[in-house]
């Protein structure tokens, strides 16, 4: 895996897309290219409906028909189970989970079946499915805002990715569809670029997305901001808050490097190690709760592999270990804000 990687410079006309548009385009291209790819989930293709809970699939049923955009009953086990079975038969299903909070309804299919079938078969079968599962708190309370990525880095047999911009999102959904293993793609609801979520902290985010066919390899991180004094590793909305905090500290004369790991399993440790070797200081930031979050694993790896590079204790900033409250003032007291990240950086550098 390459140690650093950047979004390529814009070639030709700039074409700015939201993450929603980028993922839609990535899925459409793969459906065009490979007849084995199909979509399955609740409210994904109903005529006059939503095109999935966040509109990602709008227009796809008209292009690909209802044979390949399959609406289901509200039955997460059936969705995940059908995806596992179809993948075992050589198809490439994209099951949709509306909100990642509902993954808990089909954990058996994911943890005991999707992740283990290949191994149990002695390597004779594989399970190429791509589960889409939006994360992130947005004033909806305890059961509609979790970031459950970290549960899945703990499931051998499953790959976990978490794109945070439109360029990577398109590239990695295409990589995931082409991958022979089960991949869960976690996207953040407040980064979709849809209007009307500003109140909840939503960002009006777009990126240049080239027209040509490309993939972002699973397992490759991206250095979003180069710096020399400290390294921050962060995903999703927290990544943007970390970038803002880095700007804040730049004004104080501190140079912060910010890495988007993109892929959580496999993880591009090389990129993080190389950064920590230079900066000597590491802050890990995520919206998933602290204890047992993926930040713990990264901290443990660094504490084992790069202890002698560290000039200060590794710090983590994450959602506090509580369920999500709904009141905006409570919610922002739970998730890592720009303020908390900046404060943690100051402690890291003290």
């Amino acid at each position: 895996m390459s140690t650093t990687a950047q979004e390529p410079a814009t070639v030709g006309t700039e074409r700015r897309l939201t993450i929603t548009e980028a993922i839609r385009e990535g899925i459409a291209e793969e459906m065009e290219r490979d007849p084995r790819v199909f979509l399955i989930g609740e409210d994904v293709g109903i005529p006059g409906g939503f095109g999935g809970a966040f509109g990602v699939y709008l227009g796809l049923p008209e292009r690909f028909g209802h044979e390949r955009i399959i609406d289901t009953p509200i039955s997460e086990k059936a969705i995940a189970g059908a995806a596992v079975g179809a993948a075992l038969m050589g198809l490439r299903p994209i099951p949709d989970m509306q909100y990642s909070d509902f993954l808990f309804e089909c954990m058996d299919e994911l943890v005991n079946q999707a992740a283990k079938m290949r191994y149990m078969s002695g390597g004779k079968l594989s399970v190429p499915l791509v589960m889409r599962a939006p994360v992130g708190t947005a004033n909806r309370g305890a059961q509609h805002g979790q970031c459950p990525e970290s549960y899945f880095i703990h499931v051998p047999g499953i790959k976990v990715v978490a794109p945070s911009d439109a360029y990577v999102a398109k590239g990695i959904i295409k990589a995931a569809i082409r991958d022979d293993d089960p991949v869960i793609v976690f996207e953040h609801k407040l980064l979709y670029g849809s209007k009307g979520r500003e109140q909840a902290g939503g960002m009006d985010l777009t990126a240049h997305v080239p027209e040509e066919d490309y993939v972002w390899p699973i397992g490759r991180a991206m250095v979003k901001r180069v710096g020399t004094d400290a390294t921050v590793v962060a995903t999703h909305l927290t990544l943007y808050r970390a970038l803002a905090a880095a700007e804040e500290l730049a004004a104080e004369g501190v140079s912060v490097e910010v890495i988007d790991p993109i892929s959580l399993q496999p993880f591009d440790l090389d990129t993080v190690f190389a950064s920590v070797e230079r900066t000597g200081r590491l802050l890990i930031a995520h919206e998933d709760t602290l204890t047992g979050g993926w930040g713990a694993e990264l901290a443990a790896r660094v504490a084992q592999e790069r202890l002698y590079s560290l000039e200060a204790p590794i710090r983590r900033v994450a959602a506090h270990d509580v369920p999500l409250p709904v009141a905006p003032v409570l919610e922002q007291a739970v998730v890592p804000t720009q303020q908390r990240i900046a404060d943690e950086l100051r402690l890291l550098l003290a």
Binding site: E42, D43, I46, P47, G48, G49, F50, D71, T72, P73, I74, S75, E76, K77, D101, F102, E105, A138, N139, R140, G141, A142, Q143, H144, G196, Q199, A200, L290, T291, G292, H320, D321, V322, P323, P325, V326, A327, P328, V329, L330, E331, Q332, A333, V334
Partner: protein
């Protein structure tokens, strides 16, 4: 043409209570929607307009010690079970005075003091949990009954199967009220089931099922009362399928492109509140003026609640870190 419901045997007071309870929900939902559009309320809303007869009919058949479970669409259930308009409204505002102290929100309204669990926004989640309410009543030999509200879409979840079968085998004192409003989000029930009625699904558990006009509050109340009696006699759970319709979209911002305006108009003709109002006036149980008085009362109650919510304090941010555990463990200190 709106047809009045049958109110034979209903007293004036009773009739006006049912009317008031339904109207309070309708007006609450309409008011809340305006406030939402104005940007006063955070998050999202799943509204209950159209289904009032189900919540009110069901809750009017319950005793104060009977608990209910609810769903992502709980406003109607909460008000019908006795959650105060003030505390429900404040919860939608995310205020400290809300029924969950600002920790629950629209999808988790509830209040133990009136026998309502925080609503469960995982579809069919309440069906899992309600078994335990029934089991507790059975083991303690109280005469309480638990009532579980859920949508027809929830009947496709595994929890429905496991929960109803377990309750049937254990003969638990539970009344299941399925609000069949035809759609689960954008998806019509007939695309998710080869049988037309949810009631068709419970014979396999040896459980009786009753289909009732969910736009007739008196009919709903009677069906629930009978099921509750049966449960109290130790004969086990009953499923009541109330045929109803949500007048609003699934959640805020739903343009309802998946259903026709004709269908909507046809269901509006069955408006439960208008049907009861007409029955009250035709049967001489009350005058137009009486109904207008109820409306005025309800509106006043609502404006009071909005005022209360607006002027209530935000929760203390430090409170975000309490209540995860009953016996505190140091957060951040312990793993």
């Amino acid at each position: 043409m709106i047809e009045p419901i049958d109110v034979t045997g209903l007293g004036r007071d009773e009739a006006l209570v049912l009317y008031r309870e339904m109207l309070r929900i309708r007006r609450f939902e309409d008011r809340v929607y305006q406030l939402f559009l104005k940007g006063e309320l955070p998050g999202t809303l799943h509204q209950y307009q159209g289904q009032e007869a189900v919540a009110v009919g069901a809750c009017q058949a319950l005793g104060p010690d009977d608990w209910i479970t609810s769903t992502h669409r709980p406003h109607g259930h909460a008000l019908a079970k006795g959650v105060t308009v003030r505390s429900a409204m404040a919860e939608l505002y995310g205020k400290a005075t809300g029924c969950c102290g600002g920790k629950g929100g629209s999808m988790h309204l509830g209040d133990p003091s009136v026998g309502m669990l925080p609503a469960i926004a995982i579809v069919a989640g309440g069906i899992s949990v309600v078994s335990g309410l029934g089991l507790a009543y059975k083991l303690q030999a109280t005469d309480q009954v638990a009532l579980c509200f859920f949508g027809e879409g929830a009947s496709n979840e595994g929890a429905f199967h496991e929960g109803l079968n377990f309750a049937a085998v254990q003969r638990l004192p539970i009344v299941y009220v399925c609000e069949n409003n035809i759609y689960g989000a954008s998806t019509p029930f007939h695309r998710t089931s080869l049988v037309p009625d949810v009631a068709n699904r419970v014979a396999g558990y040896g459980m009786p099922a009753v289909i009732v006009d969910g736009m007739d509050v008196v009919a709903v109340r009677a069906a629930v009362a009978e099921a509750r009696d049966r449960a109290q006699r130790g004969e086990g759970p009953t499923l009541i399928e109330a045929k109803t319709y949500r007048f609003a979209g699934h959640s805020r911002g739903d343009a309802r492109g998946y259903r026709s305006r004709d269908e909507e108009a046809a269901w509006k003709e069955k408006d439960a509140i208008e049907r009861l109002g007409l029955a009250i006036t035709s049967a001489g149980l009350g005058s137009e003026a009486d109904l207008a008085d109820v409306l005025a009362d309800v509106n006043a109650e609502l404006e009071d609640a909005v005022e209360f919510a607006r002027s209530s304090p935000d929760p203390d941010p430090a409170d975000a870190l309490t209540d995860a555990y009953a016996t505190a463990i140091a957060i951040g200190a312990a793993l």
